[in-house]
Symmetry: D2
Subunit: 343 residues, 4 copies
Amino acid sequence: MFFASDNSGPVHPEVLEALTEANMGYAMGYGADAQMEAVRHRLRDIFEAPEAAIYLVATGTAANSLALATLSQPFQTIFCSPVAHIHEDECNAPEFYTGGAKLTLVPGGDKMSAEALRQSIAGEEVRGVHGPQRGPVSITQVTERGSVYTTDELSALCAVAKDYDLPVHLDGARFTNALVSLKCSPADMTWKAGIDVVSFGGTKNGLMGVEAVIFFDPKHAWEFELRRKRGAHLFSKHRYLSAQMLAYLRDDLWLSSAQAANDSCAFLADGLQAAGATLEMPQANMVFAALPRATHQRLLDAGAVYHLWDGPLNGPEDEMVTARFVCDWSISRDEITAFLNLL
Amino acid sequence: MFFASDNSGPVHPEVLEALTEANMGYAMGYGADAQMEAVRHRLRDIFEAPEAAIYLVATGTAANSLALATLSQPFQTIFCSPVAHIHEDECNAPEFYTGGAKLTLVPGGDKMSAEALRQSIAGEEVRGVHGPQRGPVSITQVTERGSVYTTDELSALCAVAKDYDLPVHLDGARFTNALVSLKCSPADMTWKAGIDVVSFGGTKNGLMGVEAVIFFDPKHAWEFELRRKRGAHLFSKHRYLSAQMLAYLRDDLWLSSAQAANDSCAFLADGLQAAGATLEMPQANMVFAALPRATHQRLLDAGAVYHLWDGPLNGPEDEMVTARFVCDWSISRDEITAFLNLL
Amino acid sequence: MFFASDNSGPVHPEVLEALTEANMGYAMGYGADAQMEAVRHRLRDIFEAPEAAIYLVATGTAANSLALATLSQPFQTIFCSPVAHIHEDECNAPEFYTGGAKLTLVPGGDKMSAEALRQSIAGEEVRGVHGPQRGPVSITQVTERGSVYTTDELSALCAVAKDYDLPVHLDGARFTNALVSLKCSPADMTWKAGIDVVSFGGTKNGLMGVEAVIFFDPKHAWEFELRRKRGAHLFSKHRYLSAQMLAYLRDDLWLSSAQAANDSCAFLADGLQAAGATLEMPQANMVFAALPRATHQRLLDAGAVYHLWDGPLNGPEDEMVTARFVCDWSISRDEITAFLNLL
Amino acid sequence: MFFASDNSGPVHPEVLEALTEANMGYAMGYGADAQMEAVRHRLRDIFEAPEAAIYLVATGTAANSLALATLSQPFQTIFCSPVAHIHEDECNAPEFYTGGAKLTLVPGGDKMSAEALRQSIAGEEVRGVHGPQRGPVSITQVTERGSVYTTDELSALCAVAKDYDLPVHLDGARFTNALVSLKCSPADMTWKAGIDVVSFGGTKNGLMGVEAVIFFDPKHAWEFELRRKRGAHLFSKHRYLSAQMLAYLRDDLWLSSAQAANDSCAFLADGLQAAGATLEMPQANMVFAALPRATHQRLLDAGAVYHLWDGPLNGPEDEMVTARFVCDWSISRDEITAFLNLL
């Protein structure tokens, strides 16, 4: 009954097998391994982007921070949602990697609207050399609150950015959960909508610790490599990152794992709703559901693991408190059913 | 016949097995896994340092840069050898992580002498606010040229640093190769000699990508945690780092692997010398041997892999050219013998 | 009819004279001049702070950025108003000098309320190593909208900061305008209220380009000196900064200049109001007044210089548009009267 | 008898007068003053560079650090002399402003030779993404040891840089002292030799605190403006910087002041030599002369002010100790004669 995070579950067995297969003899280090060449080809095919520059790192924070540092200058500001992971949960890593750029929080909820983005960008107009300069836009897909931008919404945001000649980054820590939710192609959800760079997450979807960074225009490729090395994120035994990503992309493991997580979350949400919880039906693998405090207390005491979101555990017993429930690829129907039965 | 680097070999099978064992169910992320608790206990025992603060990262560059950033201020200078990895091979990662500290290169060879270190430190005295301020001393053990500092030499260097109240960092990417060479205890080679912080390498000795950073005085512990997170080096699925390190420390795998590498290198060096190469007998798992250029050409053409060190492959055929040969834990006597036969 | 800014007016003649007086023979550079010793004594007396560490720099941005960098760590966040100069008008200088700290904007207007500050600080509680850590609070006095915090308000803000053990910085670019408005002592407005460090402005009040940074607790003194040098803000011919500050503090020139500016602004505001403008009476030397767009057009065409604040110059003629009017020490009643006559 | 530094002397009276003249009414701030427009025209004429982008800052460290930050990337290394001011005397300001670039010290003395520079640049070739990347070359003219590069020497260094497509910066803190020594044109000593950016010093030659940064190719202009603002080096009351520089360039004051300083130094050197000192005749306004320690003791006791360079004041009385003597524009023959009489 573990719904605390999709980065606490196990690695998919096929990924572990791939590590064992990769563990033969010597291999060139630092990204010059043969598996990385295969990763590049596979991702270029999947994204219909034959020119894309593609790199692997081991954490999502590294993927986001290095991508943004490559796209921005230290005297610029990055536009993002007030609840963006890059703002709230990376201990100033973007500020560190960019050399001191700012983050401008576009007013609104977890999803930025094109209009709010336009106003925020326009608002940086008046100060000339005194204000920070406009820098990249960073969009989180799936958002930190479980929403999924439609391709039309992504296109509208990118169009605003393009009006100001700003590059767009997609934080896709849960890229595939959004993709299978939208039932569109990777190209549709990225460069066809106007995205320039993607953090293509794997860790939350069954890998041990691998994320790809994809630049659709390779002009920044060498700079990214230098920033990755300087950031201490270039692995000597790089083949073990490549092998994970290859296994992920083989036989649609990435898609089936994300589909499984999303389906589990829908099943869970149905059950929660049936049990009286207040919620919006999940778009991906995360649901926010309000239950009476006493119910939370009982569930947590019984061994369920998840985070309360808008209130502490102590307080009036019948007050509704929202909690976040996340399903990963590995959770079984039995486990969810056990939880719902408890509920 | 692969002697190019000890970070290109395979992962030890016991380490891979440990990953599979660790791959059960859910685990708290970000270093709160149970395995990490075991790692901490084990390393504190091994180092006879019950108070030590211990962290894992995935690359040696991260271990060194984060350790040095925690020990220094951006207006200071770090004292190291002119051939130190932190100076030559990390694309300014120490400068990045420290926020712009300088590296002062202590004149001499790969091993710093206490006298040269003292002169370098003293030399920063005269400039007051204008010069960089004195910061930590960083010692590489095994050095980049294969030498091993004796514990007396380490003590002498640390004594100089202590005279100026400067902390000392040990870059131990090949810590265990030095340890088994010296036949001393980990405590002897570190805090008993005066070392404050160690980068305790695992990747070059059979791990997939794990290094420990050990602070003998835990006062910097929380700052290090923040710097690690901000540097994007805190792993969500941290248990897979812990599991590697636990396997490494179990049944003396770390010691036997390093011994195997050193023994292989001694065997190789004997053979090279017998074949007419000019060399100094290796102290750890690395030997620099001079052979005629034509011989290198023949060996490389036949499939041997290693780096020429002081000259290009084209030039007078009978000129002696030095090459670097590194043995990792996995290389077999058969393979070395095949190479020597070729020679 | 120049009301655009108080940093565009002339230098007070007594200050220029002091430069001429200081221009005799040789003087020790880099802050070791005799005048600086006098500045230190004078400011310690004025602030009733015999232990204070005191430094001079040439720009307000330098004073603020260096002070905040000395008080904070790169993994922290600085709490300030959404319209703070350090956020809006310094092109990421605080982010640069702190090595990538964040600025947390306390919701509300130009003046932070103690309650809003407490909520913002408390809000950074939950994320552990993932969120930025709590850093200094920075208060702007006079605010960017012309308000003046009372000493009670300052004390309340500082009390919140102290509850969380956070240091407090006062951006006093218009320190003296606030002081003469409050009719309190410099000590009352600073350390007695709980302020730890002050940027004590001179440039906007008749100096050529000098601000003092005052640390009431001198523990950070040497670090500040190193940061100032490293930031390229240590002047070789420092005596000319000292001489300006000395002249400023002699014969209460600082107080009379600020009083003159405030009085001019009150006179202007009276006239604006009499002419039908909508405004709040100024607390210091800045007034925001709404007039019909057509009136602005006429005044600006006639040579008045000031900034429109909440709308462009083109638009409906009778729409009310707010403008900012700032008075410096030098503006004459005649000039203001000429402007009011025009109006 | 003050020979300690050329930045401790007074400001030229004509410069002070210019400040008084500039002190009339209001002026646009932040570099938009009319005087700055005149400075730009004048310097473009003087340098025969009609396209040059020109900026003023108040310290030499700011000029150098901002220029180098604009020319380099944080993953690069800057090539300079081991005794360069940017390495020894700026408390890591270049490292700070560049975001953590490295400085590579070209072996040799105060003057870099083209051959040594070529070897240093070539030496950074082999490490690919692991080593720092090649960045700008920075040349100090006059050097920190008083030497002056000929235009041929400058051209040879720039030719090496151009072979590797690297930009060249000239640290001209004593630009005019070198210029009048070489009797060449400013264009000859800069862009005609291949220099891309100049720190054109004024402070050491009679200004209060102004240096110009001149980019012969204006492509970096806007970036420099942003870096200057972000570095807190953009002055609100900028006209007072402009006025100083205008006075400096008017009626050849810059040239006559430098000539006076150089002539004084030659006169001093003659006298020192006649009195038995060992020295090389100065090329600009600085001479290094060895005298017996007892003589130094006597001179310093009698009130002469200068720095011993290669030894402390205590030691064998008859040992020769080198001292540095610097003459500024203001020193009189009488004062030098008094010193020589004492000697």
